[in-house]
Symmetry: C2
Subunit: 352 residues, 2 copies
């Protein structure tokens, strides 16, 4: 898909590749007896969420209530919200969500637990709880198995709440030691850990090596990007979303300017080992998108023998495809190399 | 505006401060006989564009055709598009735009010129042309006065095109030498340079020192941000857009997690001299937003004596406010410290 007939810049999704990615991951999880719970934050498209469920996913993962409401409206019947919802403003939308779908919320503190309990009371339905533990990332999560147990206890006997297990993101080096230390504590209290959920596309293919894990959460795998390719989780041929851009200027022999800046590609970087710049230009792999302004991609062509002309279309594999999806109101979708439609990114911008 | 009653994360605009910023800049331009042509890319709000015009702006600047169409529909009668539109897909929307407003397009190459000419023909109306020259930024722009003259010649006698002058962004050290060299060339050909337009909020207050400049284009000045404060163009008290966020976790004594990540704040950095991290937490200036994931802001509290509790609201001055506007479908607006409404960011996501 060169997209010569498309107005640019535009994100173009190869649905054949995306579907292959979905099928491959479901097969991996099936083979190893893992529940797959895809994270919709990458595509934010009900169409792909429903396809993931159709292929065998146990449900979907959402990061924010707004995102989850879009997916519940679209028919996703089982949603895990992997975000500690905190405060009175979250109660009404969380209650509305719980009335629409089987809901589980991950959290790591009692204030979030109280918020979820208030929503469950308001909705009059059960809401499940996973306790998030830290396994090495330094983001969210209780720090000790004892702290996990404290929260699980509060969820276990708390009216319409149901403790459903443990989760972490990403699966860090402390995952196995934490689980090994937590299990006897929970057993002694008679609190079952039904689910152990881990996440992250970069290390996804070794999830089965970790004993006791029951569920895999992955998002980026639907499209892949420069970061997951660099992590060895995919190849460039698996990348299913390209940004098609136009060369709008060639101010000097060594410089091109593309009509895609940080408002199209995001400013997300990749680790130096994954490559230079703000995306990989497939058609000119020696070019470097050296700098982004809001609407400009400034490209260093000094290492390119062949160089693009003004007006030429190029295809870019983004550094971080989840950020790209979220910048665009719609994606163009293709099958068999032909454009077959435009899909609104229905859950775009759902930061709340 | 602590925004305790608001659902978070949310961008909150202090309209009193924004208006003060607009008035101050208009007064500066009036004092020095400069035309002010505010760039809408920062706020993307018709309400503020019309206020800018009401205060005396000569018209507005837009970066993309989509943005300009929103502003033209809203009643902006004079628009400068500072982007080289290239290719057949741009002709119909550019023609539509030219039928709605007095239009000028900046460009630096003949392919863009041909695109603009085709649109002018299709629309049956005149479209003005500014030739963009490079003054030190290394982005767009012709490299020599002779190249500028070549393009001006092609615009000058080209059917419904009208050469209207020169522009550069940002105003770099080569601005004065370039203009000094260009003027005699243009005079010899009898091609008047009616407009000399320069841009950029960081250096805006010294625009009058540059001889021959007729017009100032600034965008960020409406809200200001950490970058323009660091550049000395404003103070923190001028910052008119804050992101209100909630502390959703305190995993360790030295760490807080906010509900605002790169999908709320963008991943844009500032120069080290402007400060650390991904935004300034006004309520905890010693805290560092050390890392962003898509929906998480991971805050290092190690230098803070006082530390926030879970559930607490904080106000953040973004690194780059233009990127923040563009991530959100709407902004909450305040006057006198009270919320007075929610405005859709009407030109959000207009990358084409």
């Amino acid at each position: 898909m060169r997209g010569d007939a498309l107005d640019t810049p535009v994100p173009v999704v190869d649905l054949d590749r995306a579907d292959r990615n979905l099928v491959t991951m479901q097969a991996y999880c099936d083979r190893h007896g893992l529940a797959l719970r895809p994270h919709v934050k990458t595509h934010k498209l009900p169409q792909l969420a429903l396809r993931q469920i159709e292929l065998g996913a146990a449900g979907v993962t959402c990061q924010k209530i707004g995102e989850a409401l879009v997916m519940a409206e679209a028919g996703c019947g089982d949603i895990l919200l992997t975000y500690p919802v905190v405060g009175a403003s979250k109660v009404p939308p969380l209650a509305a969500l719980a009335r629409k779908t089987r809901l589980t919320v991950a959290l790591d503190n009692p204030v979030a637990l109280d918020t979820v309990a208030a929503a469950a009371h308001e909705a009059g339905v059960e809401i499940g709880v996973l306790v998030e533990f830290e396994s090495g990332e330094g983001r969210l999560g209780v720090q000790t198995p004892q702290d996990a147990l404290e929260l699980a206890r509060r969820a276990h006997g708390n009216g319409p709440l149901a403790f459903r297990g443990l989760m972490t993101f990403p699966r860090g080096p402390q995952t196995a030691p934490f689980l090994a230390a937590a299990r006897p504590l929970f057993e002694r209290e008679g609190i079952p850990i039904a689910t152990v959920s881990v996440g992250g596309t970069p290390g996804c293919w070794s999830t089965h090596e970790l004993p006791g894990v029951t569920e895999l959460r992955v998002g980026t795998y639907v499209y892949h990007d420069r970061a997951t390719v660099a992590a060895g989780a995919a190849t460039l041929d698996d990348c299913a979303l390209h940004v098609v851009a136009t060369v709008v200027s060639r101010p000097t022999p060594e410089r091109a300017v593309l009509d895609c800046g940080s408002k199209t590609l995001s400013s997300d970087r990749v680790a130096p080992v994954a490559g230079e710049g703000f995306g990989l230009i497939l058609d000119y792999p020696d070019a470097v998108i050296a700098r982004l302004n809001e609407e400009h991609g400034v490209v260093d062509l000094s290492r390119c023998v062949r160089r693009p002309e003004i007006g030429e279309r190029v295809r870019i594999v983004p550094n971080h495809v989840c950020a790209v999806s979220n910048l665009h109101d719609a994606v163009v979708v293709c099958r068999g190399g032909e454009v077959v439609g435009t899909w609104p990114v229905a859950a775009r911008g759902c930061t709340r």
